[in-house]
Structures are given as C-alpha cells and as structure tokens.
Subunit: 343 residues, 2 copies
Amino acid sequence: MTLPPSRRPTLRDVALAAEVSFKTVSRVVNREDNVSPELVRRVESAIATLGYRPDDRARHLRQGGSSSGAIGFVLVDVANPFFSSILRGIEDVARKMGCLVLSGSSDGDPVRQDQLIQAFIDRRVDGLIVVPADGESSVLEHELLRGTPVVFLDLEPKQHNVDLVRSDHFGGAVRATQHLLDHGHGDIAFFGDATKVYSAGLRLNGFIATMTAAGLAVNEHRIVTGHFEPDSWYELAVRYLMGPSRPTAIFSAQNFVTVGVTQALHQLGVQHSIAQIGFDDVDLASVVTPGITVVPQHPSELGRRAAEMLFSRLGDRGRPMMRDIIESPIIVRGSGEILGPLP
Amino acid sequence: MTLPPSRRPTLRDVALAAEVSFKTVSRVVNREDNVSPELVRRVESAIATLGYRPDDRARHLRQGGSSSGAIGFVLVDVANPFFSSILRGIEDVARKMGCLVLSGSSDGDPVRQDQLIQAFIDRRVDGLIVVPADGESSVLEHELLRGTPVVFLDLEPKQHNVDLVRSDHFGGAVRATQHLLDHGHGDIAFFGDATKVYSAGLRLNGFIATMTAAGLAVNEHRIVTGHFEPDSWYELAVRYLMGPSRPTAIFSAQNFVTVGVTQALHQLGVQHSIAQIGFDDVDLASVVTPGITVVPQHPSELGRRAAEMLFSRLGDRGRPMMRDIIESPIIVRGSGEILGPLP
DNA sequence: CCAGTACTTGACAACGTTGTCAAGCGCTTG
DNA sequence: CAAGCGCTTGACAACGTTGTCAAGTACTGG
C-alpha cells in the first residue's frame, strides 16, 4: 500500500469524484445552507475517501488579507524557560481563537529580530507579539506606522504609544529593597544585568530610589552589573564576597544572577548570615536552604495577557493603546528574612 | 501621520506606480534577468516608497504545494524546558533552511495532538516533527500513508518504519544503574514516570535488566511509578523514605522526579548518605550539595538532529527510514558516587 | 394555468503571485 | 535589404479557494 507521493486532493478532485461542480463541494465543506441532502451525502463520501482537506493558504488568500489565522511571536530565546512559558501563555489564548503561533528567537539581535518580523509579515500574520531587542528596528517602525497590530512584551520600546504588557520591574525592585530594609539591612549590594537592558535599568532605578528614600547612600561599589552566564556570576559573586567589605544583604535582580549568587553564598557557607532576595523565580528557590525569597514574574500570565491584548486589537483596530503592568507579591522563603544589624 | 488601515500594496499597486506591467514587477522582485536597468530602477523605487513585500502565501500557492516554507512541530508542553530546548534546536536548523516553525503543545492528549497536526497540514507545512502522545492517531497514520514527511522525536510510535530521533533511554538507564552498582549499592529504588509513557518504560526496563544481570532481585516495593508534579513527587519521596525500609540509593528516572526526590533527601537530611542518580539534567543539579549525578539528555541536539532528518527527507523522499538513537555519558557530580554497603 | 417565488446548482471572477507564450523591437548577417 | 536572432515586455492562465450572479427547477397562489 505505497501511495506515490501524490498531489493532495483539491476541491476539483472531490467534485470530479462526487460528480458535482467544485462550487458545490465548497458549499458542503463550509456547511452552507441550501444544498440538497443527496449531494451533501455524495460530496461527504467523496471527501472521506479522498481524505480531502481544504488549503488554508488559498482560503485566507481568497478572503483577502483579512485574516491569515496566525500570529507571530518574536522572543529572545525560546530555550529560556522565561520565554517559553510566555509562549505557552500565548499559545493557550491563540488556540481558543483558532489561531496558530509562529515563533522565533532573536537572541537579542536586532538584525535577526527584523528578519523574523519580516518573515512573519511576508506570511501575512494577523498580528505580532514582540519582545524587542535593543537598538533600532526600521521594520518594526514601518509596521507600526502601517497599522499592523503589535503588542510589546516585557521590554519597553522607544516608541511610546503602543500596546504593552510587562512586569512592574521598578515597583518589584522597590518592594524587594524595602523588604531587605525592613529586615534591618542598610548595606545592600545590587547584582544585576547590564543596565542597557531596559528592565534591568528599571530594577536598578527601583533599588536606588528606595535606598535614597530611606536616607541611605548607595556606594557605587555596591552596584555590580554586566551581562554574564550563571557560571560567571557565581565566580564574580565569590570574588566579590571575598573582597574587603561584605554587604549584609544582596539583591540579585535577574534569574541567572540569582543562581550564581546563591551558589556563591553556599560555597562560602554564608547562606544563613547574608540575606538574599531575587527578581524572577527560579526552580531551585525552594530546594536550597534557606529557600530563596523572590519577586517572581509570571511569564505565562504575561503571555496570556499579551495575546489577549493582541486579539482585542484585532477585534477593534480603533481602541486606544493599552499598557498592562503586572505586579506580583514577594514570595517569602527564608533567604530574604535573615535579619540585618539595623534595629 | 495616521495612515488609514490601508491594504498592503500588491504587485499591481507597484506596477501602477512604476508604470509597468505587474509581470515586470514580479521579475524585478525575483531578480530575473533581462529587465532593462531603467525599469528596474523605476520598479525598485516604487517598491521602496510603497513598502511593498511579496505575499508568501500567494507565492507558495502558485508554486503548487511544492513548498510552503514552514514545518510543524507538535510537542507535549513548550513550557517544559526539555521541549523548548528541542524547539530551539529545530528552529536553528530551520532558520538555516529559510523555513519557519509552527509549534503547538498537545499536553500529551492525542485529540489535541491530532487537532494540531490537522491545523499544520491545513497550512500545508512541508513536514512535521512530532513528539507523539499515547494512543491512536488516525490523522498521523493517514499522513504517513499519504507520504507526508514526519520525523518522530523522543518517543517511539506504534508504527515502526518511520524516521525517528530519540535518546537511548534503555542504555542510559543501564549505565545509571550500573554506576550505582559499581559504587556498592544493591538495594536501589526506582522512581519514575508512569510506564505507559514509552520512554519511561524503556528506562524501567533498563533498570530491571541491569539489576537482574547483576544477580539481584528487584523487589516490587522498590519500583515507584506514576504521573505527578514535582511537589507530589517530593511528598511521595518523603513518605517513602520514612517508611519501613530505606534503599541505599535512588534512581530518579525523569527530571520532575529528580527535583522531588532531591528535595526529599535534603528535607530528611540524608542527601549525604543515600546515593541518587537522575535521568535528564536539571538546573539545580550543580547547585545543591552534593551535586546531582545524572544521565543527561541533549534536547537541543535532539531537536537539531530531528530537523536535519526532516530536511534530508524533504530533499530525498525516497531514502530509507532512519533511526538516530542518541547516547550520552553520565555527568558525575557527587550524589551518584556516595558509596553503598557492598564491597 | 401562469406568474411569481424559493430553492438548488453551476459558471465565472477574484485573491496575489509565477509560468508560458507571443509580440515588438533593434540588431546582425548573408 | 530581407531574414533571423536575441532581448525586453506584457497578456493571459493557473494555483485552490470563496463571492457573485444568473440559470434552472419545483413549488405556491391567484
């Protein structure tokens, strides 16, 4: 039973088999009224024996760009669980809307990002969800001007009047810092991503603002930023903690950073004396002792809301732009509640 | 500068603007020879001012199903890092081939799986990569018979003559078990996924075969299987270890299971006396003390090879089916090298 | 019994693109 | 100078589908 690599059957093939016009087949496929039961029967049986399936490309093409039944999602790296959870959130909403998801990783490279967006646009996706890379994106700007529905996710683009969903990076950093202050810490070190990353900058700002508001000076030696892998963060943190003056608490403002810092604290055996609070939840947070107190993000929720925002725009091109800033309460696990020297 | 939600320009629009026939525009777009420089100039300038982009749907439609420039990937859950890393591997290969990736999560539900495959087929993807769910899939079988290129990933389907890429579950389990035997353990407990999952069954078989070959009886009380979340595995493991007789070593045969078991060992303070080896690497493996010894899988490698296998079939429909079983050496981190009572 | 109506069916154009073909032009060549 | 050739250009069909319209049939009511 080896069928040759045969052409997929089309409306015409079905029509031929059922001895009707191909338009009638179209009607049956689309469950239109006013087809005689007899013909419906014949057509349906022909469809079944031929294994006919309508070609969505032709369908959407005919219906004139109106809807291609797919959306595009440009993220940084799908292998990063933060982004893949977002993707899952998007997928769940898209599925409800009968829509497929095209996704691609930009690795934070604006050129790659533009290639992806272009490829999605060439497929005439109905809309885009984009975690923007740093830098200019002429393609994205052009599409925004054209009126292509775009929702920005997690990071804020230069253009300001856009649909946007992101975590409350600033507010989260404020709460994290205040949490440490409330537990008697005045000498807090900030470890975080390179500040050219938008969210990282916001988190640092939140840290500094809270310290300043509490009347505490922030020594620049207490701010460590850069763009590294977890392993490098580990080494960096060990070296830092072996240095001349140790802080009494650390705010690790990104998930990779948190992993590295936690490893360092354990390595040096000071995990019970130096407090730590992280931004972004990590798998190991509840496994280590003490558990790591964090300000979590809810990636699947971010994805869900971004997708809902996109579909809401698809439903109403005219509605005003929306921004959805998601706050999340601190998850207390122990590491952030180690008491500091202050009263 | 608010453009109305204007139609995207087509070949004809460009032709009108450049005062040529639309066929000439097509030629310029496709860089065909034998167009006069003057017309090329006019057309290119019209393309630039209008922001024209060819419609890939129409292109592929015209070129007759031959290639839609997209492949479909049906996985279990993209939020699971194992699968999202696979996706990344696929994406990297697809990108090189100028191909987009449609993906969707089946949650292991065969109905959902079939809906996804059907949706991909309706878009006329060039091929499919599928992590099959348990159970019958009439859609998949039909497509296989039709000759649609399909590569199976990670799990083996009932159909046997297919393209397949997976880890060496059996061999890995053998090596893991032997590793524990070599370190003086004879009383080993197996914790793993429900055995109706194909890979889980293979791993259990590997465990049993190795124990038996070593002349050791496997008490059924030492085999704990089921389908749970990490939290439940934690509770289950704690209860098990509080029970009447403790094993001297544990083989946790899946990543969620490993997390739960590790937490339980730490909770009971026996992480230095009971050996553990896991199947599948986990993030926290090198963070906890002792580090967790594992038989890793290489998800991005699985994805890469599956994609390469798919494209190789797209290039040669006639080639015989291939199976690619990936072995990986044990990563030694400490937990698996805790010595047991045997000589 | 005839006009009018409601239903059923099919012919044809269109979506945006590429492949095929032929027409028009200027040039070479015998 | 006529025949032939090569280059450039456009008209038209086709991909697989849906929308529009008109033709055909079988009713109904007056």
